[in-house]
């Protein structure tokens, strides 16, 4: 979904700028979510081990 379609006309410099800004923003959010999930699963594991389930 994020690939540039070769059949479509090339993006203008402005569109290229918007596209790259979105890519960067999404990458930052994805990294934050991944770190959050790592911490959450770590805590879940600790709780599960602690409760013996």
């Amino acid at each position: 979904m994020s690939e540039i379609d070769k059949d479509k006309p090339p993006m203008s410099p402005e569109e290229q700028k918007v596209y790259q800004a979105r890519q960067k923003h999404r990458a930052v959010i994805m990294a934050a979510l991944l770190i959050f999930m790592v911490v959450l699963f770590y805590l879940i594991t600790i709780v599960k081990i602690g409760s013996g389930s």
Binding site: I4, D5, E15, V18, R22, H25, L43, I44
Partner: protein, 301 residues
Amino acid sequence: MTTASHTITGLASAKDLFALTKPRVMSLVIFTALCGMLAAPGSIHPVIGFTAILAISLGAGASAALNQWYESDIDAVMKRTSGRPLPAGRMDRETALHFGIGLSVFSVLLMGVAVNWFSAAFLAFSIFFYAVVYTIWLKRSTPQNIVIGGAAGAFPPAIGWAAVTGDVGPMSLLLFAIIFFWTPPHFWALALFMNSDYSKAGVPMMPVVAGRQSTRHQIFGYSLVLAAVAVAPFVLGLAGAVYGAAAILLSGIFCALSWLVARSKTTEPKDMAAEKRLFKFSIFYLFALFAALVADRVILA
């Protein structure tokens, strides 16, 4: 609104992906699920409780994304929804579908692995009910769409309850019933002053099919049933006096406002003060009633 080329809409912004989850509806889902969890007998570790609420929220967001994927044609012709990411052209449908399915699978797996598989199955069923039974099947085919589809919005407190107990009890069924019978008066009040939007989109909402007066009478009828169901936990001894007093007071106001709607003969949406008042109060009603239930549990404990 961003004017973007086809290629750019293929890469939706994070803000639009978030908007796809209907954050305002999600806040009510989070609140009712949390109340169901707090009202349930027994205890849950805060980390597991947080994860359960997170999974329920993600499931609700997934349902909303799938709903908007399927309804983008309807949303485009309704003023209230035309600014959403899909009808506004800021995102393509494929992205919404992938996002919705991905979030659904993730939310159910998270619930199953971290909490219990009963509530995970319950969550999966609620997503299926909203996305398939309500959105794809009922909404465009019957004026009872809101009545039966209301069940989808009624699942969160029961799922929150199931996260703690691993099953369904009489109180969780009553919490389900409260939202189930609350939904028709809440949505039909909105549909009355948004009638032109729904008829333009060809959605067979009750005011479009049965007319305004019939809808107004049904709103009042459902309000009476809602009041009976809301007071039931107190009458049956499942909740204490704090909840009982709040339920009687709030339901009394709800019925009074519904009565004003039933007596209204207004045809112009801009003059529908009674309907707008009921719609606004209905949101407060649900928050206040569930908050009273939690307060009741805290006091009893």
